[in-house]
Symmetry: D2
Subunit: 279 residues, 4 copies
């Protein structure tokens, strides 16, 4: 799978498509987008590996020349979709996103490896282990820096394709935001940019909104302000207490996170500035 971005101009598609055609590449899925504001061109192409006479490494070496000729030295990548994706989950006490993701993994819907779940509480340890997945309890006491160092160590040893904050409820320090840039995915329990920060359902109740939502986004050092991958909402009314909003919101949180994570792992999400292209 090739994802690629460069300044827009005539002939990009022809250049890339001809390169692939000459190699005999069978394109299974292709998407293109040009952002009119920034004049930036984006594409994602899925090529059948068995249609090419060489492997991913060789494809990368050959494509580098094409990319360079189009002015894209680094803004592209070729991923072998045959390699299983590794996902590490960070959790706290609220289990609905964890239960949902584990269910998707167990049923084969989300075909990934989860080598570790890390919690700042241990209430979700048993269910995690029942799925045959190691659970690491890292208490967050006075020394948050030490706790985050421990989390980082546990995460990085798996070099995961995604670090999912599945209602983790702790704010990542800037150095981890940087280290995991483009891989750390959060689910925020509001329709951002409404209700940034703590207790968004309480904020939503106080404002009297008629819909509550959830936002799946990449984590950046700027709280709840990273590039948005996916959002969704659900209707509430005057009969709903904060507790009802929390309950209804959970159903949106978990499907929004699952969709965003799937798209990320399939290489469908291209970040440009603070916006995303989702092919």
């Amino acid at each position: 799978m090739i994802t690629f971005g460069c300044p827009d101009r005539t002939g990009i598609v022809a250049r890339i498509a001809s390169f692939l055609a000459e190699a005999g590449g069978w394109i299974v899925e292709a998407a293109y987008h040009t952002d009119p504001d920034t004049g930036w061109f984006f594409t994602r192409q899925v090529v059948r590996a068995d249609s090419l006479p060489f492997d991913a490494e060789e494809l990368r070496a050959r494509f580098a020349g094409v990319a360079r000729s189009l002015g894209a030295d680094t803004d592209w990548r070729i991923d072998d979709t045959g390699e299983r994706r590794r996902v590490v989950l960070l959790v706290s006490k609220e289990g609905h996103c964890l239960y949902d993701l584990l269910g998707r993994v167990a049923s084969g819907e989300l075909d990934v490896d989860v080598p570790a779940v890390i919690g700042n509480h241990d209430v979700l340890a048993d269910i995690t282990r029942a799925h045959g997945i190691p659970f690491h309890h890292v208490p967050f006491g006075a020394d948050k820096a030490a706790a985050f160092a421990e989390v980082a160590k546990l995460v990085d040893e798996h070099d995961p394709h995604a670090v999912v904050l599945a209602r983790f409820m702790q704010i990542l320090p800037p150095e981890l935001c940087r280290a995991w840039a483009g891989r750390a995915i959060n689910i925020h329990h509001s329709f951002l940019p409404s209700f940034i920060g703590a207790r968004p359902y309480h904020q939503a109740y106080a404002r009297g909104v008629k819909l509550v939502g959830a936002t799946c986004h990449y984590v950046t050092a700027d709280l709840d302000a990273g590039p948005i991958i996916e959002q969704d909402v659900i209707r509430v009314d005057h009969g709903d207490t904060v507790a009802d909003m929390v309950r209804k919101g959970r159903d949106i949180e978990k499907v929004t996170l699952a969709r965003g994570l799937r798209w990320h792992l399939e290489g469908r999400v291209l970040v440009h500035g603070n916006r995303t292209v989702v092919f």
Copy 2:
């Protein structure tokens, strides 16, 4: 139709229902709600006028005693739904909400009188008049206070049940917010509280949200912060420019406004603090 609020306690429903039953009142529609936070009780009851042996005036006089006994001196009203509702529309250049409301009125779906449409521009004069409705052009130049005084005069002579800011694009001065409290209805082109103020679609585009929305709310002196009657959203993606968002958003704005206005005119919306009960 009775709408009523009082501090919650035992026996309120029995008191009101018995009062109506003794008078032979046939309840067509009844709704109750108790807000657990404030301990406030709300009800709306629609009674068939021909089932009562007296008129609305007499009903009001008799019900006053019931209300007083329940601790509600003023927080109730009895409206004669047989009286046609009068709606005055304030518009600017954007016509989609006006076209939509006029279409609903013309087809009989919204069975109200529109005695006047007032615009700070005159681009929507012709279509308004084609519907047989007077259009008043009040230019907003340097002297906004004078313009608003003229608008107020044109509105108040009809003593309307609703003053609808159908994408009016001018901020009502505090004295008009007060004068039309509970009757002035605005449609804001974002999912409030996101993107308060000017150019919300531009703000939404810059933030990279995946849904845009609209909010129908009562106008208060606090900009875009009045009690919300109804909200809705529509999906957008990376392929949508600001202009596309504007276009898609219009479809949400007009139905959200139409729903909110209908509920207001049917007496379904009870305001309590900055939240609404919509029966």
Copy 3:
């Protein structure tokens, strides 16, 4: 909690509310509906148990007279919401609804007992037992009648408030439809009445629909034609294969089932003919 239906007439609300008020009953939640077609009146009232000077049994005995005086000999019930609800789940191979419900139970969101899960295959045995719930494998071979007899025995010993066909994929015989009338709940993987019967996603794909849905309904002897409790849909497009539709549909199936089941267990669903009132 009282749920009650009778032919509509003047004074029903007064009669019921006065009865409760005289007993000192504190109404926490009340809903009323009159069906204009059939002239039938419906109500559901939640009364705080500790506000009454007698227990549920005594309340039933006293209320029977009220009901009779309103022409409702049998169309009412009084449930003690303090009694924990028991839910038995029937499953096959597809686990998404089971995973979802078990997650809700484990996290306390769905506060019920699940004394048994019964599967015609055993692939979901391990996850069920990991939640501490007994799993019974009842193979469905040539003798379906015997298998259903075994299922019925396993279900009935728990006298459950709900028997949930969580993608069970077997058609209940008429005698079980009768025995479990108003308690057997199915999730059908289409927006009924579209695509009744087998392989609805394949039917949906062939028809080229732009939304797929799910329907939670009471099971009757008439296949996929029982009273609908809840429905929802999700958007699909030309890029979605049948497998994609199946995957997207699962997210709708599980939340639609969870909502419908919750409403059923809370006594919010009143059946009248083939339609439901959902308070």
Copy 4:
């Protein structure tokens, strides 16, 4: 704008993109899709006219060779998007779709010519003429064939890009279905394939569904069974009468029709068998 379909194979994108690149064509928007079931490849490409050194006619002549080499003799077209689209509307008594479309045209949102509106009743004549559009009243009495002949004559003289049945309520005879194949667009007031035929809201009410919908589709000789362009739904509940469903449904009908019509006119809809690709 090029829309093109052919059997899938390696190198199609390269062939088309290279052809355009060699001519200097600046691709503004490009979309590709391969249907895995039928092995059919689809593409739509929007090229800036001023980036090409020749006109649409010459482009067609040159592209014909490319198309032939890819096995597509006829399954492609090149449209000059600079040519204004002509749309003829067929109506009956229900005006909501007509009001909505006229409002969109008047406000410039739908930038098309409407040279004629034809009604089998004349109740919508005045509003049509107020928009400066000729209205033709063709009564449908005993001789339907004669009436349809008259309608056909009035339509065909404008050679429209779309013939919109905006709640026309008359079934087109097979010869008109053929003559206007791929151009006649209907809005059906249900979520097809549910509730085919007459009075779908009555059918929906009787079945007790929790959502009602609308379907915009191409008209074929098979009633309500043509390729679906767009669908949408809106929530209803037990409190909604058939009249309420009709009212709520109208809001979905008009936006669904407007979206489908826009996509059709922009050449985004490619029909393959009874399914559509909507780019």
